[in-house]
Symmetry: C2
Subunit: 72 residues, 2 copies
């Protein structure tokens, strides 16, 4: 399945974090990692929305889910 997260923004993110040099493969790796984390967060968020009786995922569902995924 194709990645939603592109390489160029990942390259910029690693630069912004202070890297003197960024390899193409590291930008690809960050995209893969964030894609996987993003899917995990989204799945948890969908559960929260469903639990609240909503079909629409809202910002607060994502925020709670992100905290949960990070603290695990």
């Amino acid at each position: 399945m194709k990645n939603e997260i592109k390489v160029a923004p990942m390259h910029k993110l690693i630069k912004r974090a202070g890297a003197p040099r960024v390899s193409e493969e590291s930008a690809l790796a960050l995209g893969r990692a964030l894609e996987e984390i993003g899917l995990k967060v989204a799945r948890e968020a969908i559960d929260f929305a469903r639990h609240a009786g909503r079909k629409t995922v809202k910002a607060r569902d994502i925020e709670i889910a992100a905290k949960k995924v990070l603290s695990r």
Copy 2:
């Protein structure tokens, strides 16, 4: 500071996770969360690269850093 991660791919990611409906605000929230997580991972990766005596961040630095950030 402007976000590197755009809204459209976040919308698609939440859809792919199985959401029947995705609000604009939730896509924005996921972008903010992944941007923050991405910066954390990148900062750790830079430390690993530096520790290995490299100026260039490599894929393995990102992979170790992502595991570390997620397991905390």
